[in-house]
Symmetry: C2
Subunit: 210 residues, 2 copies
DNA sequence: AAAAATCTGTTGCGTATGCAACAAAAATAT
DNA sequence: ATATTTTTGTTGCATACGCAACAGATTTTT
């Protein structure tokens, strides 16, 4: 498999050929898409960061997904939605590639190599998305905040091959990602420090165990 | 896209051609695979049911995934694992198709139509797996048991287009799926009944609201 | 450089929920 | 048909965690 970067370059170089793709830029704060009756649309985040937000009927806001470089999203990847509304919101300025889900399957008349490669790359992205989702589920199924944090640190640590890691987003967002209350999480972080499990300096965390 | 059934039939009819696939049957209780250094292997459950089980370092067992007809799984779809061991355990007798992840990408010399169709079907399965995973995350990110249950019921209800639904697994398993304590969940179910939100008769639930 | 917005850490309080234990019911195995 | 295992419902207890509120630090905007 190619590197992240190669895939990234391929996606950025795409121009509409045998089927239609659209690129659009969004400013921070704009709504990129809603998950409501666009079942055919797939989106890839080329640059920037975006959140998938749920407002439930009480108006409570939850971040249920966080997207960054090469994240693939869109209603086609979501359960047909019932009660609550889902939005994808640009957290920073973003460039997004849109295309129709069907183009992944429909063979183009010319059987052009571009179309083939495109499908392949998208499928690879989807697979890495599956890994991401499984990672998150792995964390969400831990029964308490401490285990969620430690598992999360472990994952980062084994990715970077280092006991010192840097949290890639704000602690507020981390709490959302782990689906716990922010203040409760901060409390637990303090306990972990007191008990000598970790050291913390801003977003730098050092694991002291093992 | 074809129906579930068509995909199912296609998969069952697979015989090794331009690359190697293996079919094997497992008895209830057998270990189908472990997530440990088989990064290349993908598995599809042709018949039966299986659970993805995590044992953490305390020996605590958690069901972190549940597989049934046409579920696709395998370490390739999982974060490189660090601390705890993952097993896929046959919950009933199972038939499983194994093949190498690489075969999804490598173009076979003959460019045979079988290989093409195979890749396509697998990619569709993976996409439906993404929908499944997103469904679960949607549920896991709800902040309390009541909301988890009601959302779960809603999803089932809108799938079946009926206010009366049938839980497709035991309540013990449902608790695992929602990652809550079983007794706490039963307690919450009782409350929902008392307060007139639902009716319950065994695994049949009727939603009384809206 | 000042003003505004967001992020972070802390704490008190109440409660939702995890845990353990048990008995009855249901399902499965012998 | 009987025995064994699994599932289900219930309840008491303890506590982990969500919530609200606030102040200081940090970042972003103007």
């Amino acid at each position: 498999m190619q590197s992240e970067e190669e895939i990234s370059n391929f996606l950025k170089s795409i121009e509409t050929r045998c089927f239609k793709t659209t690129k659009r830029s969004f400013f921070k704060g704009e709504t990129i898409t809603t998950y409501l009756e666009k079942r055919n649309q797939l989106c890839i985040l080329l640059t920037g960061e975006a959140d998938l937000i749920r407002y439930d009927f009480n108006g409570n806001k939850t971040i249920i997904g966080q997207f960054s470089n090469n994240s693939i999203f869109g209603e086609a990847l979501y359960p047909a939605n019932t009660n609550n509304e889902l939005f994808v919101l640009a957290k920073t300025n973003c460039d997004v590639l849109f295309f129709s889900y069907d183009n992944l399957w429909i063979k183009c008349k010319q059987n052009c190599s571009f179309h083939k490669e495109f499908s392949e790359q998208i499928n690879k992205l989807i697979i890495s998305q599956v890994v991401e989702l499984n990672t998150r589920i792995e964390l969400l199924t831990k029964k308490n905040i401490r285990d969620k944090l430690l598992s999360y640190f472990d994952i980062l640590s084994s990715k970077k091959l280092s006991k010192t890691i840097s949290i890639p987003f704000t602690f507020t967002d981390l709490a959302d990602y782990l689906s716990v209350d922010r203040s409760a999480m901060t409390r637990e972080l303090s306990h972990l420090i007191e008990e000598g499990f970790i050291e913390k300096k801003g977003k730098k965390i050092t694991l002291l165990y093992e």
